[in-house]
Structures are given as C-alpha cells and as structure tokens.
Symmetry: C2
Subunit: 401 residues, 2 copies
Amino acid sequence: MSSFDWSSVYAGRAQRMGASEIRELLKLLEQPDIISFAGGIPDPDLFPIEAFQHAYGAALGTDLSAKQALQYSVSDGSPELRSWIADYMGRLGVPCAPKHILITNGSQQGLEFLGRLFLSPGDPALVAWPTYLGALQAFNAYEPTYVRLDPRGNAPAPALPDSGGRAKFAYIVPDFANPTGETLTLAERRAVLARAEAAGAAVIEDAAYSELRYEGEPLPSLLALDAAAKGGIDNSRVIFCGTFSKTLSPGLRVGWVCASATLIEKLVLVKQASDLHSATLNQMAIARVAVAVFDDQVKKVRAAYRARRDAMLDALGRHMPKGFRWSRPEGGMFVWVEGPPGLDGRALLERAVKRERVAFVPGQAFFADGSGSETMRLSFSLAEPDEIEEGVARLARAIAG
Amino acid sequence: MSSFDWSSVYAGRAQRMGASEIRELLKLLEQPDIISFAGGIPDPDLFPIEAFQHAYGAALGTDLSAKQALQYSVSDGSPELRSWIADYMGRLGVPCAPKHILITNGSQQGLEFLGRLFLSPGDPALVAWPTYLGALQAFNAYEPTYVRLDPRGNAPAPALPDSGGRAKFAYIVPDFANPTGETLTLAERRAVLARAEAAGAAVIEDAAYSELRYEGEPLPSLLALDAAAKGGIDNSRVIFCGTFSKTLSPGLRVGWVCASATLIEKLVLVKQASDLHSATLNQMAIARVAVAVFDDQVKKVRAAYRARRDAMLDALGRHMPKGFRWSRPEGGMFVWVEGPPGLDGRALLERAVKRERVAFVPGQAFFADGSGSETMRLSFSLAEPDEIEEGVARLARAIAG
C-alpha cells in the first residue's frame, strides 16, 4: 500500500529545515581511537556533579519540594532562578530585574523564538560570515534573506537586498565566537550598535561563551553598553541570550533571554505556545547549583580550557605548514584555521579521519552563503593537552597528504 | 530617552501570539480559600515521588552516569526511553520501533513543531469547536485559517475557505477531550480518518488524556486504526502526540511524537533547530520511572480521578439548575457544562470567584471563532470529592445570582 506523501502537506518553510552537518558528523566520530576537535562540547570531567547530586537530592528530598519540582510551573520561569540571573546580569553591568528574564531551553531556544517573532519570509537578517550554525538553523525556518555583517568592520557595509524589507536584527557573538574564536573590541561593539541603530534593527547578542575568558579583561556586553547609553534595559534594542550549557551543564537545557520587559512579555507568550515552560525540577536544581558553585565552577573550567587552548596554539605553531593561518582566541572553545586558497576542508576531513584518526569541522557549514571551503574549526574543549599535541600533529600529516 | 519600538521589527505572525486566558486566570486563583475547577492540572499528591527520587539518585549516582545525564545528547531522544515508548505504542496496537519516536518537551512541543512544519499563512487547519486552547496557541503563530471539524458528525462537513489552499491537517483529541471530556466512538474514529483521507490531510492525534479511562473498554487510537488499514505506521497519515504529563509528571516536560519514520526524520531537524534536544537527565529518569511503576501509577491515578469525576457528576445532578447540560466523560479531567442561551461565562466566573470563592474556565477561550460564551469547563482533577461537592454547590449559588 502506498504511504502518505508528507511533502504534500509541508509548509514552504520546510524546504529550509536541513540537517546540521556537525551533528551528523558527530555521530560518526564515536570511535575511541579518534582524536576529535569536532564538537563544541564541554568536558564532562568538569561538570559539578556533586553539586548537582545535592541539588536534585534537595529538590526531590521533601514531599513539599518534590511536588513542586514535578508539577507544571509558570512560563517565564522559576522566580528563584530568574532572580539569580538578574543579579548575575547586574554583575555584568546590566541592572535589571526578574521581569527582564525569560528561562529557555538553552540559548538555542531563545534564538529560535527570536527568529519566529521577528522574521517574515524574505526579511533581511544580518549575520557574520562565518557564524554559529545553530543560529542559522534556528532562523532558517522563518525564511530570512541573510545579509553579511562584518562586525570587525573589514567587509563593506551590507547592502540590503531589493527584494527584502527592513533588516529585523543583527545576530552577533561578541565573545570568543563560534566558530572563529574572535572577540569584538570595545570600539567594534560600539560600531555594531551604531549600525543596528542606523538600520532600525534589533540586536541579538549570543553570549554562550562569554564566561570562558582565559586572558585579558572582560569587555562589556552589547546589552550593557546599549542599556547604559539609552538609560536602562527597557530602552535597549539588544537581546542577550545566555546559557548554563558551557559553565554548569549542557544536558539540562537551561538558558535565558535578558531584554526589555516589553520584549520579554511577548517572548513569554512564545514560550507558552511552544512547550509551556522549561522543566521545573531542572530550573530548581540549576538555581541551587548556581548559588552554591557558579563562581568556583567558572574558575575551574577556565583553568582547564586555558591549558588546552595554549596546547593547541603551541601545537599549531609547531606543526602547521606554511599557508595556514589561525585565530588566537582569548577564550571559548574554538580555534579557526584558514588554509590556502583551494583547500577543500571536507576532503581533508575525510582523509584526516580515515588515515590519521583526527577530526574537525569543515568551516563551510558556518557560512550562510556556502563559501569558506578552505576553513576549519578546531575545538580544544574535549581533549587533554597531550592529546591536542598528538591530534594537531596528525592533522598536519593529513594536510601534507 | 525613547525605548526601542519592538513592534517595528515583529513579523506579521506576532499579531497572533496572544496570552492564554487560562494561564492568566490561574495566576489569580492561588488564594487558598478558592475551590478551583479551573486548571487541568494533575494532583501532585499522586506523583510517584519515591520512584523519581530513586531514578534521579541512580542517574546522578555514579560518575559515569552523571556525566552522561548532564551532557548534550541526540536530538531524537534517549534510546532507552524511545525503546520503552515504542514497546508501549505496541501495546496500544501500534507496532513500531524507536525510529518512529521523537522525544519532545511534553505534547505541547509536538503540536508547535507540527504547526511550524505544515502551516503556511492562510492554510486551512481542521479543528473541533471547542478544542484544546494550547493547540490553537501552538498553531496560531503559523497563521492558519481554522475550519470547523465536527468529529462527532453533528455539524455539516466543513467548506474550505476560498482564500486558503488545501487543508494541511485535522487536529483531534479522540479520548476525553479537553475541554469537552468527550470520546469518539469507533465509528466516529473511522469517519474522521476517511474525511482526512478524502481531504488529503494529515491527522494530528492528541492523546494527552488517553490513559485516564475510568470506565468502558479502551478504543483503538487513530494511529492504530490507520496503521492497521494502511499496512503499517510508515504508511499512515496519523501523527500521535503523547505525554507523561498526566501519568508521571507534567513538570519534567517529557512527551513524544509517534509517526511514520519519514515524518520523524523531518521533526528531528525541527527539534535540533528549536532546542537541540530535551533534557538528558529527565529522559533518563522518566525511562527508569516508566519501567518501574508506569502500570501501577496509571491504576493509581485512574482510581483517584474516577472518584472525583463521580463526585462531580453527582454534585452537578443535585445542584445545577434547569437549563444546564453537561458531558459525562468516561475519563480525563474535565466536565463540559453548557448553560442556557445568553449565559455569560466570563461574568459568571467573576461573580463565582468574588462571591462564592469557586473558579472554572469560561468555555469561550476554546472556540477558534470566539463563540461559546454560554459554556464552562470544570476540572475535577485537583479537588477531593468533598471539596467537589462543596464547589459545585457554590457554583450553583453563583448561577442563581
């Protein structure tokens, strides 16, 4: 008997719902003898397991608390957690209150909500070339026209396409960006805000990696700068997407959006329609763990990842052939490598995995226009320094042929 | 200084993102002296707390397991949980495999994904009048034209609007529907499937309440009927949205979609773009609790809610004035009351809360066309039988004036 033709009932936007090359790739890399620089995945050896054991034990430990933890809860999120996050944002230079915070399932869900709220088909969305693939995936369903934004100011100012309307937002990862590892200077941050203001666009600030700084002084977030300039968060055009994924745990899927109360009120409706609320118990546990260990945990992961970044930069300096350049990130999880013109990153990956048992992500996936075939993203978060040295040596052998 | 004008960057669809009257209402009903028939909320006294304590203890109890529980995981969901659900669906008469299952954040997220995947602006979507408000909210962002589907066959067959294209799906709650409490007969199920087939539409089956049957024999799900008729789930047009919210815990936000592998593959991409995956730890815990206590737990909640349904039907029979009719649900959480023409459910609610301290949900919110002002939804899930008796007596007094 014939099966139902699903494509006959799909919306037009379904054509732009594609698989993430990276996540497909990760499935292939589970063999233990491969040294993987592929996934941007926190090292589970660094998780604050004991703190989570206590937190879940406490949340489920009394009948009263367990009944709350397992029950429906409000769409905007746990008051305790929103209150902790509001204080935390205050420490980042963003004076705000719980009404400026929405709890989401990781920052990914915040990005998807913002795509849904802002983008009509054909609307211009300003993104960097390259940029976080997951953001492109989140926005793609809403059929934007991507316009190149060069937040470092090296590329010409974007011309908006004739077909589209007004640019709805600029999406920016200001600190240790995925995939490039680059950080915007203070002047570049101000320039991005000025350009967004001139274009009448909102700014989506993806702060996923911001806590992972290994050297230098923290720079103010785009939201901190804009809120200060405009007289408060409620006047700002910046939407800050934060997450506990890179500090406490990615698997619990707890992140947040911090923005003007007007926008948060609208996003609460989006959250309600999407999945009612984030898991009550996980919010309770994250709040407890954040109170108990956040600062110490950040110190711990910074120290571990700093050593790995140093090992990777050392190894690249020693092993990579002429014609290759790479970023020197002040934080985050990634080094971005640009090979000589003509390099085919996908072909290199295949050779690297088969012959040398080392993996990375070909950079092309991060370009909204499909360019960048000569680039690669190397993550240093998951391997110990000696593995990193060995992995980079293998990569250099794969490049050599 | 002036604030950013968010409405200037909203997509057209944002106009249809409205607040749920019910959830707004629930915020007002937290005073302890109110007897509430408002929320469709499981009784937390029935949660299997001990089983969850064991499950979270075990999932976080060893380093190996804790590292897995707190780490990123695959977008389609935990293999153990999907395997349990596939077996469960088999017991419901739907032979299937884990590849036919996607884990979602409650069934609500499944509904939102399906709206996103299927609906272009103006597309007809067939829904009952009245129907689950959360489904309307999930679909609204994708700007459908709602067309009345009367699954009981009392209303005339829907005429599709000239402006719209082809109906993309029919959304049906076959068992103990929210808000009416009604259950489709076997003949009505077959008729719904035949009508969907004639219209070339998919069928979204919302099974949120299906386990909560208090009398009579379970009827086959729409998916079971269609898969049997078409030679297997991969040929079926039915998409089954299930949840653990009404049986194990709503706060953990774990549900599933069960459908043709072709559709599930597409939905996995939607899940990935939306929030990467559902919380790893919660999936592990739900899988353990389901293995350990699912059948006993279902027996327990059925017994408790059956007694409350009986108490509510008894009390309605004794207290309600002439001119009121109500459903006699075989399961679920709701009795649907239709008052005489001209009754204003919202005004009655205000009077009932202020004067008599009893609450319900005015039925109008459940009608896609805003009709139904003379209706109310009474939930019996959260009050003990003696409170139900008292609450219905109060409601009758409020009606009397």
